[in-house]
């Protein structure tokens, strides 16, 4: 047992003896560490900001392009429906372009209002916007006001607005009872030109 103890003590002493290290060892270790790639953190931000190389097959590009076309077409169709009736300058420009299509006809609106200072036409074809530039009637003399404007083919409701405040239905057109807002409208059916 004594010999064994002595052997163990010798081993322990040998292991505890300091190892001689060259003075440049620390520098070499740190240089190696700095050369290693940075630690990649997980999470949305690091995934978004870390540069990555992505390889995409032609099929994936095709899918992406097709979906872009579909959504662009949907957006354009929706915009054309809504902007046709809007009153912004951009929409007006589009409206004028559309006016030449086969789906709109020029319609003359006439109102006799000798005491009026301003007459405009509002309806579902111009978003009920009394300030719409294309639907401002002009005084032709003798109390006759008129405007000719493009109106989409279909069944529409409209009214005249006199002096920005008084709603007047067209005496020359069918009237429609308005149970919702209490002011009767006129009706017009614009047909496709034969």
């Amino acid at each position: 047992m004594r010999e064994d103890d002595e052997t163990l003590h010798q081993i322990a002493r040998e292991l505890r003896r300091p190892v001689p290290v060259s003075e440049s060892f620390d520098d070499r270790v740190m240089a190696t560490v700095r050369r290693l790639p940075k630690h990649v953190r997980f999470g949305l931000w690091s995934r978004l900001t870390t540069p990555r190389t992505v390889t995409v097959t032609p099929l994936s590009w095709g899918l992406l392009a097709a979906s872009l076309l579909v959504f662009a077409a949907l957006g354009a169709a929706h915009a054309s429906v809504d902007l046709r009736r809007a009153s912004t300058p951009l929409a007006n420009a589009l409206f004028k372009d559309n006016a030449k299509s086969a789906h709109e006809q020029s319609v003359q609106f006439v109102l006799v209002a000798p005491d009026a200072k301003k007459v405009s036409v509002v309806g579902d074809f111009n978003g009920w916007d009394a300030s719409h530039a294309g639907f401002q009637a002009h005084h032709r003399g003798g109390g006759v006001w008129s405007v000719t404007a493009p109106v989409p083919v279909g069944h529409h409701r409209y009214s005249f607005v006199v002096d920005d405040s008084v709603w007047v239905s067209d005496p020359n057109a069918p009237r429609v009872i308005d149970n919702d807002y209490g002011v009767a409208n006129s009706a017009i059916v614009v047909e496709e030109q034969q």
Partner: protein, 207 residues
Amino acid sequence: MSRAGDALRAIAALALFSVPLLSQDPRLKTRLDHPTFVAVSALVDSARVAKLPTAPLVDKALEGAAKGSDGAKIVTAVKQLSVRMGSAKHVLGSSASADEIKSAAGAMDAGLSEHDLARLHAAGGKRPITMPLAVVSDLIAQSVPIPTVTDLVLQLVKSHVPDRSLTLLQRNVRTDVERGADPTVAATTRVRGLLVSAANPPAKPKE
């Protein structure tokens, strides 16, 4: 991350960002107060899901704003129109055009029942009844009783009277009423005249 997964995520993101763009009409936001805008937008979105035409709903809201109605009244009007259009589409079928549905909703607002709308639709066959429905709204507005209007327009539809003649009919009845005629008598007389003309079309001149 797989390449197919990347492509699918891109498509999903496009779909996600496209939906709000499609469902908003910029005029609603600028011309309605915020609570009304939110309520009307929800109704328009619901109509879109139900495959109903949405432009008439937007127009109804804009009409209310132009007429100075309060938000509650606008929302009620849009909702009622949506319900009427739903009923009209149910009767007219999925092949009905937006204009026909809108016209039917207008006639129902004037007082035409769903049952009578179905009778007119059946009489018209595959032919759209947009114009006859406009005549229904017009004659009811001129104080002709609804049962009389329904019977008269039903006869016109069955006789395939062309839309141009219906436009003329409205004008003639209006003129008669302005000159003092009883609306029912004027409408009945003018419709009879049209039916006789339709039954005996003028002979084509010989060449």
